[in-house]
Assembly symmetry: D2
Homo-oligomer: 346 residues x 4
């Protein structure tokens, strides 16, 4: 065994932040601050930078005004400066065309490029950690920021799910494996044996990235961005607030089969789907755990272990939305109305 | 059995509100609104009236400025107007001297009198139910007020615990039984066989009132006022906020033996002890359930089933505080410093 | 107000037990003992008597073999022996034909009669409380039996829901109010303004009895019997076990609008629907709280505040099942297969 | 920055199992199976091999009969066969004397050696994953074994805490860093600035190993072995069972400052301290996060963020126990009596 064992490289280390587009910036900011308890740390060129209170770096979310919702870019931090160089060399050797961004708020030079379905990715190493001002400083020395008093505050960014043109899911998953060092932790297969959806990670989390077939045949769309609570009750608390304040709950709380995560999906006022994780699911500490494969007939079980059924929207709604008048089943969300503003502070 | 069975009267029906003194009104209000998520509904003669979001009536707490903390009066609602008349007649026939209060904010005429240890009690029937203004109205038709966005919001008043001169505990418990129709649900005995503490109720709750021996030999003092969450996690959430914002946690989260309630004790900035209930313990639906008696040797188990030990302060601190320089073990709380104000809104 | 106020009688005090039919007795017993952690206390004439570990009396469930599932009788305990006499007199004066049962295991003489839709009810007062044998005795003096080590053990019986011929729901609800002293706590209306479903109680629980329109136009059927946990996590634990061991989860965990209860529905191997309560919802301590009425357009919200959608089966499946080949939408459950037996003890 | 950045090696990958001594093998097995829901998978030379239902490999715990409790050896799995070779070479180059074990149940050849305080460690790479027999197979494809029906079943091994001669804590921590590639995630300092306790990990978990000063000046002792639930309620459920069945709870449930873990400590019948984790605390996904240092004056906060105080025993009891008649404060545990056996199966 020893002679032939190939050690995998481990250069990409964690999901760092995502930049989302929103057509209703003010309402989106209100949602992320009042309901999810996030904190605004910076504004620049019209974009608003936000953090969850246990995010290590300055921010994990950038909200950027745009005529429609969607994901502008998603950033990963590498293990080291050398790891960053190695990945960029490998990407370029593989013919991927990217570009260096020299200056960004909160982190050093970064390399941006697209995955095979057109999702914009970014790699960087140098980063600024968050230093809380005195009035936001926690007494807990391993907590970068005092727990906020508003809403049901999320703790940290968890993962992102990219709708991927269905035909490209298997190749795109291989791209993350070969170019970025991800592991395919779990996958749901179509009757033809190809993956319809895959969950990939570079850490013991079951995924930092999921690639899921786009039911509307789109490309480069966002399925959802996920934040982490780690406490089951917080999903109930959040559900209660969402119902009270007019935030759309698409599904959950429910327990996924894949990842075993207790979760729920809501639509933020800009139209992007946000997932919340209410526990840790399971962690993969085993260095060479084989991919868990769910055959087509187990799809339902893979998606939901218990807690109801997923609505049609789940496999079709992504951002930017595709509005197709000829397709009766096409369901998409208009940016919603909520009642946070009027009730705030009372 | 049938011939001799005496049906008990059931005239007093529920705990309605408590009026607490505080030497630091503004800080106390800040605590109850920002940390416990309560809502101010009225101010009158310097007093502030607050409600939990699932309290049925207009308010359940009145905070009144005073040079020291304590309980000014505690009110119960009767089952009917007739029940009110019956109780007052019986009290007066028993030689209890009380007085009618004709006008009070939010309820009709009320009869005030003292229990045997000097705690001021009030009975009334006519009451105004809370009607939420539009911006605080819940979509849930059985919820009187929208769930607040601030802190870890309490749902309703639960019970009150009166420190009682130790020698008077048994007689005072009988006063609640004979004059007000309470049932002694549980009791902890001293080695001599008398009750050191009793838990009494008129409803399936294990107690609306507890009478507990005063370790400093005081009279008429408040041990604590309790609010209800019904969700275990909320005690963890509240603990986290209390530690972050400088609110004193005296004990818990822990599980009582008596009542089986998951609970915690904190000291509000004015010095009064506030208990929070994180589940429902058990309910007594059985109409003639015998008193559960805990012998002296089970005192520790009766107080804490699991979750640590109670500190010395638990049996000594009450409000108003008794400061006794000659007693080294005498522990009392100064109104505390907290950091809610500076962090609020951030 | 005082002059005209009519005091309501309060003679019926609590739900005591239910007797369910099952076509697969052994499998049903296995489910209630291994998955719900109940204890068998008695067997008589082929019936098996079971208790939850915090039930006060000897048992709360009787399983009786029969060719099909269903509810044989449901028993309530009265407040006193006098209350029992008063109710029987009133029922007979109202022309209800009932009969006295002189001997029953675990309780005294009982009066049995039908509600207006043919559900068999029973009233009694004298009862035997459970006395645990030494090896099942709890160290907690207010807990009648040691918490079991098997499954996710339920704590006590909570309520029962009777499918009622839709046209009879309003009149049957009035029967419970007028003859038995129940209060209509909540009701969901049809577009014509009549109640489609009502929730009734004699205690602060929102309901001991619910009456819900039978979607298959049956009479006298059981919708479900409910047991109580009081801890949200236990519904997740139970869901996990049900999925692992082949027990059908029909819906949930979810949060009802009506009653605000966190709950789930499963189908026991005999075909009866069992509900589990994961918290206390809210309690009605207010003696004269008006009925909460949900208009027809709020039906969905009334049934589910959050946590998914109810399946078609919810409004049609009851026991005994009605199998109607002409109705495509008619969904009913065959007694299920589970895998408890083979895995037990491993 | 890039030029001088040294990439750390990552050869040791996860905690795999621990072997504990027990003087009461049968009672210890009963505790781990009936209360913690573990499964016996193998017996060999008098030792019993057990697994938690989500452990990836065949077992995570070996119980070995001995005249006193303690830890016989603790095993870590390396990232690859090459990583195993590299670590052994480095250890031998550093003068550490170890030995190869050619055959072990469930894993390949292993290298055993001592840390600087005499705790026996083991490294291996080749391993057998658990394959459940049909009756223990889960419907969840990412769960190696069906969730058991007994007790409150633990999910996987989490970490181990070694009492370390107080003077050797800093040097021993450096040994784990230099020889095994651990990171010091958190540390509590003494007034002199040296670490009194350190928490170290090779994964995003805050620790797989903790080194804590031995309050009785011992060497090579075990403080505790920890298993993981990931659900806060399970600690309450376990507490309830422990109290009912005579298992000693030393402390908790409580929330650590260090690691932010919700936890509790119990003493298994053999005398070894077992910790249970009820959530995930926080994860360290950041590749170069600096050590969180707690100054001496924050020791209490570091140990307990909320949930009571640690007893004296916490800093003194380890296994094997040191019984010192001259030291009044010396507290140690005799193997306890429990009542699992008599109640089992009822």
């Amino acid at each position: 065994m020893t002679e032939t064992y190939v050690e995998k490289f481990r250069d990409v280390h964690q999901l760092a932040h995502a930049e989302l587009y929103t057509p209703v910036l003010e309402k989106s900011v209100e949602f992320f601050t009042e309901i999810l308890g996030m904190t605004v740390v910076h504004e620049e060129n019209g974009s608003v930078y936000l953090r969850a209170y246990e995010d290590t770096y300055k921010y994990s979310l950038i909200l950027t005004p745009h005529h429609e919702a969607g994901m502008k870019h998603t950033a990963f931090r590498t293990y080291s400066p050398q790891a960053l160089e190695r990945r960029v060399e490998a990407l370029e050797a593989a013919g991927v065309k990217g570009e260096w961004i020299e200056e960004s708020y909160g982190h050093g030079r970064a390399y941006q490029f697209d995955d095979l379905d057109g999702h914009r990715l970014e790699l960087f190493f140098e980063v600024e950690r968050y230093e809380a001002p005195a009035h936001l400083s926690s007494k807990l020395r391993n907590r970068p920021q005092r727990r906020p008093l508003r809403g049901v505050p999320v703790r940290r960014i968890d993962h992102i799910n990219f709708l991927t043109n269905e035909a490209k899911v298997p190749a795109n998953a291989e791209f993350y494996v070969d170019q970025l060092g991800f592991n395919i932790r779990e996958g749901v297969k179509k009757p033809d044996g190809d993956f319809f959806a895959t969950w990939l990670s570079v850490s013991p989390l079951v995924h930092e990235v999921a690639l899921m077939g786009d039911g509307l045949n789109g490309s480069g769309r966002l399925h959802h961005l996920a934040y982490w609570y780690g406490m089951p009750q917080h999903l109930d608390d959040l559900s209660d607030l969402c119902k009270e304040y007019g935030i759309e709950i698409e599904a959950g709380p429910l327990k996924h089969g894949v990842s075993q995560a207790l979760c729920m999906y809501i639509i933020e006022p800009g139209g992007n789907r946000i997932e919340l994780f209410g526990d840790s699911g399971y962690l993969i500490l085993d260095p060479d755990k084989p991919t868990v494969e769910w055959p087509a007939e187990d799809t339902e079980l893979a998606i939901i272990w218990y807690g109801g059924k997923l609505p049609e929207t789940y496999f079709r709604h992504g951002t930017p939305a595709i509005k197709d008048e000829t397709d009766e089943l096409n369901i998409y969300f208009e940016p919603g109305e909520n009642q946070i503003h009027e009730a705030k502070g009372n």
